[in-house]
């Protein structure tokens, strides 16, 4: 099934199996729904799949209040660029309630949001802002790359006791893959997954970056370079052990993400790797992220902003000390 169908199935099963779950957001009920919530209000009613006004702050605030009272609300912020409007509720209420009240209250909400980008929507409908939320103690940040992971991670997020920012990617929506239909299927938060084993370099990524990393790995294979692709799946909690194990073996790392490279998630990952593996790395950790510009609308420009297999391959070659693709695998 597609990623969109997998996410729909996770929501469907959560609604079916737990009365505490309800969804709220803009245009999430039928007939206006077009994303992963499509069909759910018809099945479960508009009490449990609730269209809201365009009020991002109140959507998340309402989810928090209901979560404090034992519900498991799943709030949708339609496009991640809009999350700034709800940021106060996420950063100052959801993330901090448990700590500020010494554990007397908590906000186990899931905020689903979608990254556009790569589809010509321009600067305010395209950003990958996950680094903002990694920086706030108390939040969990999840970015799936496959339909299987999407279903398993969303199920975990909904029933997790902490507030989760669940980042979907519009360009991954039509992507197909095998998905367990068992309602009991979930993937623990904080466990990275090797999407492709390799021995010369580790491509560390998450979300759409994984697709580009796998493409790069295929190209590199033709040149005799064996690239491992490690999908982090969750940025908080971060599976440091899996990163260190993989890069400890390959001794080279390239971090790939659609978020802006400068001060992006890759900066933290690179810092951890140099701290844990100093002296064992064969090359500096490379990063391939979005260029430091507002996203342009024209496709010809936008394609220059995001990581591509080509840019990843070039970064891998730098870690290998190669001047060109033809000079061999182990420079």
């Amino acid at each position: 099934m597609t990623m969109r169908e997998a996410l729909n199935l996770a929501l469907d099963q959560a609604l079916a199996h737990d009365e505490r779950v309800f969804l709220l957001g803009e245009d999430i009920a039928d007939p206006g729904a077009s994303g992963p919530t499509k069909g759910l209000s018809t099945k479960y009613g508009t009490e449990r799949v609730l269209d809201t006004p365009i009020s991002e702050s109140a959507i998340v605030g309402a989810a928090i209040g209901a979560a404090m009272e034992g519900f498991r609300p799943v709030a949708e912020i339609m496009i991640m660029d809009f999350i700034g409007i709800a940021a106060d509720q996420i950063i100052n209420n959801a993330a901090k309630l448990r700590f500020m009240t010494g554990g007397r209250t908590s906000a186990p909400i899931t905020v689903r949001t979608q990254v556009y980008g790569g589809i010509g929507t321009g600067a305010t409908h395209s950003q990958s802002l996950e680094a903002w939320f990694m920086h706030v103690p108390g939040l969990k940040v999840i970015v799936p790359s496959t339909p299987r992971d999407g279903k398993g991670l969303l199920t975990s997020a909904i029933f997790d006791d902490d507030p989760c920012i669940f980042v979907e990617t519009i360009r991954l929506g039509p992507q197909r893959g095998m998905v367990p239909v068992d309602p009991g299927f979930s993937i623990p938060l904080g466990e990275a997954d090797v999407k492709r084993p390799g021995s010369d370099v580790t491509l560390i990524s998450y979300g759409r970056g994984v697709v580009e990393a796998l493409g790069a790995a295929t190209q590199l294979e033709a040149d005799g370079v064996s690239a491992e692709v490690l999908d982090l799946r969750t940025l908080v909690p971060l599976d440091v052990a899996a990163m260190v194990e993989s890069v400890g073996r390959t001794t080279r790392a390239v971090v790939v993400h659609d978020a802006v490279q400068f001060a992006g998630p890759g900066a933290e990952i690179a810092a951890i790797l140099q701290r844990e593996l100093f002296g064992r790395l064969s090359a500096p950790v490379e990063r391939v992220g979005a260029r430091f510009v507002p996203n342009p609308a024209p496709p010809a420009l936008e394609s220059q902003v995001y990581p591509s297999a080509q840019r990843i391959v070039a970064a891998v070659r730098r870690t290998l000390g190669l001047e060109s693709a033809k000079t061999g695998a182990h420079g």
Partner: protein, 332 residues
């Protein structure tokens, strides 16, 4: 008009109102004295002058009714029944605090008393109160949620979003505006074109009521109506209680922005001496009764403070606790 209301509220409840108001005042006075002298070290946003509103909450709300208040919340917390030892303990960073000392003055909660959240961010509370009210509605409970905030909060987007949503879904919510006439250092008339916060209610299709927030009986009457409306499925109410804060925005605020004659007039309308004389004139309390109530408040405050000052401070071990449900989720 006020005489009629006096008739409507039983002598016992009126006495209770005065007990709560004097306790709030005594708690504020003691804290203020301690901070000013250097005896106590904490940040504090004093509600002195706004006691009638919180006392009315104290007699109108049930224990299971919920409250979302804010950093200027000492009086609200007392009104809702949070023990002074927890409030002072939290302000002074002791283990007796409601959050074992790590939340601080602005972030006091006690769910057993219905106090779900105190926000440090102006306007951040109403959206959460919407969610609490949604929860009550979904569970079929006849509980009411009160969101308590100042006039300044009604200029935030969060307030407008929450008010609209609460009205749209007929939520059991009271949007209680304690209009103390200043948003931090700026007078209300410089921050909104309308003359009454209550007028905003029409924009959301909900009832808007404005009362003298220094008259506890007027607040009781209006709050009772709003609470009954919410409890019986009639939806939310915006209740504006006009009052004044005597000590400025934060403790130590020189209040250079308040014209002396405006402050003098506000002090003249101090709700506590005003209600005191009314109780005596109505024959509800004798002078001796009133003295006794005031002395009891001071004693209760002193006992709580002594308990807090002899309690251990917040533990360093608390740092990693409660960041996540499972502390192992914290990055190293």
């Amino acid at each position: 008009m006020t005489a009629d209301r006096t008739v409507g509220v039983s002598p016992e409840v009126q006495r209770r109102l005065y007990e709560l108001m004097t306790l709030m005042k005594a708690a504020d006075d003691r804290l203020s004295k301690g901070i000013a002298s250097g005896e106590l070290q904490c940040v504090y946003w004093p509600p002195r002058g706004q006691e009638a509103i919180a006392a009315a909450m104290g007699v109108c709300l049930r224990r299971d009714d919920q409250l979302v208040t804010n950093y200027r919340g000492l009086h609200d917390l007392i009104g809702k029944g949070v023990p002074l030892v927890e409030i002072y303990g939290e302000m002074l960073g002791r283990q007796t605090g409601s959050s074992r000392g790590k939340g601080g003055t602005m972030h006091i909660a006690n769910p057993e008393c219905g106090v779900m959240l105190s926000t440090g961010i102006v306007g951040a509370g109403p959206p959460v109160a919407v969610g609490l009210a949604m929860a009550a509605q979904r569970k079929g409970l006849d509980r009411v949620t009160v969101a308590s905030f100042g006039d300044g909060a009604t200029n935030t987007g969060s307030f407008h979003e929450a008010a609209n949503m609460a009205a749209l879904w007929d939520l059991p919510l009271v949007l209680l505006c304690q209009n103390n006439q200043y948003a931090e250092m700026t007078p209300t008339e410089h921050t909104m074109k309308i003359s009454q916060v209550a007028h905003r209610a029409g924009g959301y299709g909900l009832p808007g009521v404005r009362v003298d927030g220094n008259d506890p009986l007027a607040v009781v009457a209006a709050l009772t109506e709003a609470v009954d409306r919410g409890r019986s499925g009639g939806g939310p109410t915006l209740l504006e209680c006009v009052t004044f804060r005597f000590r400025g925005h934060y403790f130590g605020d020189p209040m250079a922005y308040i014209p002396p004659e405006r402050l003098a007039a506000a002090l003249e309308a101090d709700p506590i001496p005003r209600f005191r004389s009314r109780l005596r004139l109505a024959g509800i309390c004798s002078e001796a009764d009133l003295d006794e109530i005031e002395a009891a408040a001071v004693t209760a405050v002193e006992e709580a403070l002594t308990a807090v000052l002899t309690a251990p401070g917040a533990l360093v071990d608390e740092l990693d606790r409660d960041v996540y449900a499972d502390p192992r989720n914290c990055p190293a």
